[in-house]
């Protein structure tokens, strides 16, 4: 028996010996699935093949929500990964918990260089603290645009895709008059209709500069231009220039656009790649989201997800993760992501280099960089840095449920938004109570 034990110990020692000669491993849990999940996995393979010091162990967690949820569960048992891909709405809790390693500091501590000034301000601001330190590493980034059917626009005599809501409404009326079945395929989206709309118009979604300056925040979107905008959308739906196109209503807005039913729909620039793959039988293009006339346009902000480094891991793992993050930030890897998805570059130098190479002059990338125009329209100000609210996911859900009720004629749009605000404020109150005495870094 004792002999057996000794043998076992020897074997253990032997494996430990080889392990140290092996690559330093770190775990990365990501949310993307389907073809995008395959892209994440491929970046890991490319990283592992590119050098022989480190090894990224990449584990798909079936969606952003589950990725964050599972990471929390693992974190509480101290079995969490070093890296987590999280979507913006899921990170307020993580920020306040302080259980992350800001990437700026990580890079400084591990001696890996990243040119932080090279990041687009619209992206940098979104993922940084008030001191300008990056919390997390931007990676798969997008912003909303609208897609339009060029053939239908031409038939209706529209030569240029409008960039004001008044102009778009007029265009939609013309499209309808030219005999089209449907103008705008509308699907309620708080990300586009509320959050990005408010950014582009430089109006607040919530007090405290959209939550950045404290937890005692209250929602304000029932007092701004957002109300009039939603009432306009409702009017278009009643007049027939817009049609509700959601899964529940029979067809998603994207499907209805791709089939050539509706002339316009709003979505993330990430769909640019998808629509190419779905091969619509007509010419189409994208345009920045409109603003109302007489309003000075501002930038939109980045959407998508970023990579968070979590606390409680070893120096070796941090070093490995830092190298992986720096690897993702290189021009080659950004280009790899861009070529295999609809996302946008995150650094100025990469964007300029790609433009100079003619990347955006050939299909399927033509005009995809319109997103950059939207994102960099102005320097981000106090109201256009982003939104930092606890319980954001519930707030979005309240908004959607109430807007649905208004669109179905159950209440007026104003009543609906008032209810969404008061219910959202309850969420914010709970959040503030949960993190009493803390503030966003």
């Amino acid at each position: 028996m004792t002999q057996k034990l000794a043998v076992a110990a020897l074997v253990l020692a032997a494996t430990a010996g080889t392990a140290s000669a092996e690559k330093i491993k770190f775990e990365y849990w990501y949310g993307l699935t389907g073809d995008l999940g395959a892209v994440v996995l491929e970046t890991c393979n490319r990283f592992n093949a590119s050098q022989d010091l480190y090894e990224a162990v990449c584990v798909g967690q079936d969606g952003y929500e589950k990725a964050v949820q599972n990471t929390i569960a693992a974190f509480r048992a101290q079995k969490h990964p070093t890296l987590l891909q999280s979507f913006d709405a899921g990170t307020a809790d993580l920020m306040l918990s302080g259980e992350f390693y800001p990437v700026t500091q990580l890079m400084a501590d591990t001696g890996v260089t990243v040119d932080w000034a090279d990041y687009f301000p619209g992206i940098a601001n979104y993922y940084s603290s008030s001191k300008g330190e990056f919390f997390s590493m931007p990676w798969n980034s997008s912003t909303p645009v609208y897609y339009f059917n060029k053939d239908m626009f031409a038939k209706a005599g529209i030569t240029e895709a409008p960039i004001t809501w008044e102009g778009l409404e007029a265009a939609l009326v013309k499209v309808k008059e030219s005999g089209a079945a449907c103008g705008l395929a509308y699907a309620p989206s708080s990300w586009i209709d509320l959050e990005q709309f408010s950014m582009a118009h430089n109006i607040p979604v919530a007090s405290n500069n959209n939550g950045y300056d404290g937890l005692d925040t209250e929602l304000l979107f029932n007092t701004t231009l957002h109300v009039k905008h939603m009432e306009n959308i409702q009017r278009w739906l009643t007049d027939g220039v817009a049609t509700l196109r959601t899964q529940a209503a029979g067809k998603t807005s994207r499907d209805s656009f791709v089939e050539g039913e509706c002339a316009v729909f709003f979505s993330s620039i990430a769909d640019h790649n998808t629509i190419h793959k779905l091969k619509p039988a007509f010419a189409w293009d994208v345009q920045i989201i409109p603003t109302y006339e007489g309003i000075e346009r501002h930038n939109t902000v980045v959407g998508g997800a970023s990579l968070w480094v979590l606390s409680g891991k070893t120096d070796d793992e941090y070093k490995a993760a830092a190298n992986y993050l720096a690897f993702l930030a290189t021009k080659e890897e950004q280009q790899f992501l861009l070529e295999n998805s609809g996302y946008i570059p995150v650094t100025k130098s990469t964007y300029e280099a790609l433009k100079a190479e003619g990347f955006y002059a050939k299909e399927p990338f033509i005009n995809r960089d319109i997103a950059m125009k939207s994102l960099t329209f102005t320097e981000p100000g106090p109201l256009t840095r982003g939104i930092r609210l606890g319980g954001m996911i519930q707030i979005r859900a309240e908004w959607t449920a109430e807007v649905e009720a208004a669109l179905a004629g159950q209440k007026t749009m104003k009543e609906a938004l008032d209810t969404a605000v008061s219910r959202g404020n309850e969420q914010l109150g709970r959040f503030a109570q949960t993190y009493a005495g803390k503030s966003f870094p």
Partner: protein, 305 residues
């Protein structure tokens, strides 16, 4: 069947039993140990959260007493959610069990080719969840699915984004579908364990097949029926998230916001662990009360021996 009065629920009792011995604790220990570790211990923690505001990433919590419960119970939308959950549970259970029982009784007649029917009805149970969700989108989708053919006759009649009752119908049908094979298997197994001699004797007495079903087979099925009733009701309260999520997302305007979906949406998606824990306890109490009622009033009609 005489139920001793000291048992707090009138569960049936055997008159003949073995003497209590050291074997009993040994037989019970494994199951109790497993549920203690994997159910009671973790659940106790969730119960504690219901009385606090818990920070998801650890880092502590604040004791708030019954605040989480008060908040949930004073929310008018929550009662709407309770209402639709009850409707959903009752409707899916009736639909799934009714269909499963009918099919099982007829398959059990063992006419030529019954094996084909048997396999055909059971195997849908093997389909993984993502496929089921998508399949039902194809069925109910007002613009593209099977139901869109109704809309070619009566345009706009079927629209899940407008009519709450249609959305509820859609999730009930999908939920029942998911349960049919399950109930069918157990009904069939129970029917098959009714000895042939019994049915043959009844046939000799001149009882026609339908009469035998009513008078002989159904009463003998009651223990299984009771099992499936309790399981189906419990399941439709606790295991309906996937269907709601893929078919309606809780809409239109919260019409299909089932209790368990709300728990997921708040806790799993929105990281409000405390609110979700309070809701879980309410859901658990409701299901327990319903189960209690079933044991108390329905099990009386079950013929065990």
């Amino acid at each position: 069947m005489v139920a001793p009065s000291f048992i707090f629920i009138g569960g049936p009792m055997r008159r003949a039993h073995f003497k209590f011995s050291w074997i009993v604790p040994l037989l019970l220990a494994p199951q109790l140990l497993v549920i203690f570790i994997f159910f009671y211990w973790p659940s106790a923690q969730a119960v504690y959260w219901a009385f606090t505001l818990e920070q998801p990433w650890g880092g502590g919590n604040t004791w708030v007493g019954f605040d989480n419960f008060k908040k949930v119970l004073s929310d008018p939308y929550y009662w709407g959610s309770v209402r639709v959950s009850v409707i959903y549970a009752v409707a899916t259970t009736i639909l799934a069990m009714g269909m499963a029982l009918t099919l099982a009784l007829f398959v059990d007649r063992q006419l030529a080719g019954y094996r084909v029917w048997r396999v055909g009805i059971i195997w849908p149970y093997a389909v993984a969840a993502p496929a089921v969700g998508l399949a039902f989108q194809f069925v109910f989708n007002p613009g593209a699915g099977i139901f869109s053919y109704i809309n070619t006759i009566a345009p706009g009649w079927w629209d899940l984004s407008k009519y709450p009752w249609q959305a509820v119908t859609a999730i009930v049908v999908a939920g029942a579908w998911k349960q049919i094979a399950y109930s069918f298997i157990f009904f069939l197994a129970a029917l098959q364990s009714i000895p042939r001699s019994l049915t043959e004797a009844a046939a000799m007495d001149g009882a026609r097949p339908l009469r035998r079903m009513m008078d002989l087979q159904l009463p003998l099925l009651t223990p299984t029926f009771f099992f499936l009733l309790v399981i189906n009701i419990t399941d439709s309260f606790t295991d309906s998230f996937g269907i709601v999520d893929t078919l309606t997302g809780g809409g239109p305007f919260r019409a299909t916001d089932l209790m368990v979906y709300k728990i997921y949406a708040d806790g799993f998606r929105g990281f409000d662990y405390s609110g979700a824990a309070a809701q879980s306890i309410i859901l658990m109490c409701l299901v327990m009360a319903l189960t209690f009622v079933q044991f108390r009033y329905i099990e009386r009609r079950v013929h065990y021996t």
